[in-house]
Amino acid sequence: MDLYAENILDHYRHPRHKSVLKNPTVTHKEENVSCGDTVELSLSMKDAKILEIGWSGEGCAISQAAMSMLSEELIGKTTDEALSIATDHIHELLGVPVGPRRTKCALLCLHTLKNTLRAAKNEPVQSWTETVGEQ
């Protein structure tokens, strides 16, 4: 994987939507326990639609850049649309092949998004196995 890929470094250095929302509908945090990377996602929602997004996080370039890239696509999406985002899409966003050792870095954003939406619906969170297994 080319970690120097310009889009990855750009998002890592200048993360989009990395801010605190004033009155989020829901906030949820996930961690990649094997490396300690974290992402906390806040969404403002109305009628099951994402109006605003803010997030914070710490970790490697892959996990943080992927969250930044994903954040650019979420506003205006319905819960169902956001829940249907597949792992392949995150790989497309990153644009470089991600090896098995870094898969969870890449998918931390998606895992957090899905569980934030589940939290908003008062549903139990899904496991990493489910997130990684969804094609």
């Binding site: 970690l3 094997s34 990377d37 490697c60 892959i62």
Partner: protein, 403 residues
């Protein structure tokens, strides 16, 4: 005597491709002679041990028991039957936690240090869960050495056992074991030494140390995976209840019960890793042929050079002692602005292999206030040129990342 590192390197087939392997604290590479020893065992001696009287069974049994005697000499143990073969250091520590631990009760205490690897933490935490015992932690100085007053404080609570590493697998800190063991014994505390990180870098003499138990892994001392060792004082091992049940560990079995075999078989249920024991024997003989003191001296040069190089890079922060005489095996560090996983991946693409993460020491990383670090670790086959190459690649990564 001149230490000919190129001659050492040539004995490691995996290194011939020009990789810069700086992850020997995770597992060391294996010299040809170890691979050949295991091959020879399988091609000419393979049979199950301790059963059957045919020639091969006897040859295999002799080879396995020879390996035990070699380990006995390596550790300076009084008896060969004080050497128990396990899968690895983790299993050796678990053996003690699960057998010695059986007699513990709620009021009892176990002492650990913040430097411990998860393998010397979790078995005791499991015991805490099971028996509601108390775990006391020996704290650290800012440079990663053990805090003296914390040692005194923890030992004054008279723990039943202190489980302590010989060398930190993160900071490389060398622990003054003999002194601490003496203090522990004065308080009636037994001592288990986790020598997984130490065994390849320092001469061990269990009788001189007077430790009660000691554990190490074959794969970190140039031997194969799947074989580890528990040393225990004869009387203590005799007094412990049995661990895993099965073939080999019994004297007699009836429909009502069993009697345990004598040491060492009491703790070696099932067919052991025979070829791996043979490989470990060969690895220890290989270390002896170079001399562990000569290896340690060579590694100290490498670590001193690495400390010097790393400290010239302003973005690098070295964790732990900055004096190569105080450390063995490894150095951990962080680089401003580059996550350890990113750094390791960038360097990996340049053929420089190090470790990133929490190195199975989350309590230590919490104490240091960092989630993850990068670590280089050295072995007999590493060169000054490799340390230079590593430092150059770190500098390249920093400038490329920051442009």
């Amino acid at each position: 005597m001149h230490y000919d590192v190129e001659a050492v390197r040539r004995q490691f087939p995996i290194l011939s491709g020009g990789i810069c392997y700086l992850d020997s604290a995770a597992t060391s590479q294996k010299p040809n002679i170890v691979l050949r020893a295991m091959d020879t065992f399988y091609t000419s001696q393979n049979a199950n041990i301790n059963r059957g009287v045919h020639a091969l069974a006897e040859a295999a049994t002799v080879a396995f028991e020879d390996a035990r005697k070699t380990v006995q000499r390596f550790l300076g143990a009084k008896h060969a039957h004080e050497i128990i073969f396990t899968r690895n250091a983790t299993e050796a520590i678990n053996l003690v936690a699960k057998t010695f631990g059986r007699s513990l009760a709620q009021k009892d205490r176990i002492a650990l240090t913040l430097l411990e690897h998860h393998s010397n933490i979790v078995p005791w935490l499991q015991l805490k869960e099971e028996k509601n015992i108390t775990i006391d932690w020996i704290g650290l100085e800012t440079d990663g050495s053990l805090n003296e007053s914390s040692i005194a404080d923890v030992l004054s609570k008279k723990p039943k056992l202190l489980a302590i590493t010989g060398v930190s697998n993160v900071l490389g800190t060398k622990i003054p074991l003999k002194e601490i063991i003496k203090k522990a014994h004065a308080n009636g505390t037994l001592v288990l030494v986790d020598a997984a990180q130490m065994a390849a870098h320092e001469k061990i003499d269990v009788q001189d140390l007077d430790c009660d138990f000691l554990a190490f892994s074959g794969h970190k001392v140039y031997g194969p995976t799947g074989i580890g060792v528990l040393y225990g004082k004869e009387k203590l091992l005799n007094d412990l209840p049995t661990f895993l049940g099965g073939g080999d560990m019994i004297q007699t079995v009836t429909t009502d019960g069993f009697t345990a075999a004598e040491l060492p078989r009491k703790f070696e249920a099932g067919t052991p890793a025979i070829a791996e024991a043979v490989g470990l024997k060969s690895a220890i003989e290989w270390i002896d042929s170079l001399g562990i003191a000569a290896i340690a001296e060579h590694e100290e040069h490498l670590l001193a050079h690495a400390l010097e190089k790393l400290q010239t890079i302003k973005e690098v922060k070295v964790l732990g002692p900055k004096d190569a005489k105080k450390i063995a095996s490894c150095i951990s560090f962080t680089v401003d602005g580059i996550h350890p996983h990113d750094l390791t991946q960038i360097l990996s693409e340049k053929g420089v292999y190090l470790r990133a993460g929490h190195h199975c020491t989350q309590p230590l990383h919490n104490h240091l206030g960092v989630v993850a670090t990068s670590r280089i670790s050295v072995a007999a086959y590493n060169t000054i040129e490799e340390i230079d190459r590593f430092a150059t690649e770190i500098s390249h990564a920093i400038s490329a990342w920051k442009k």
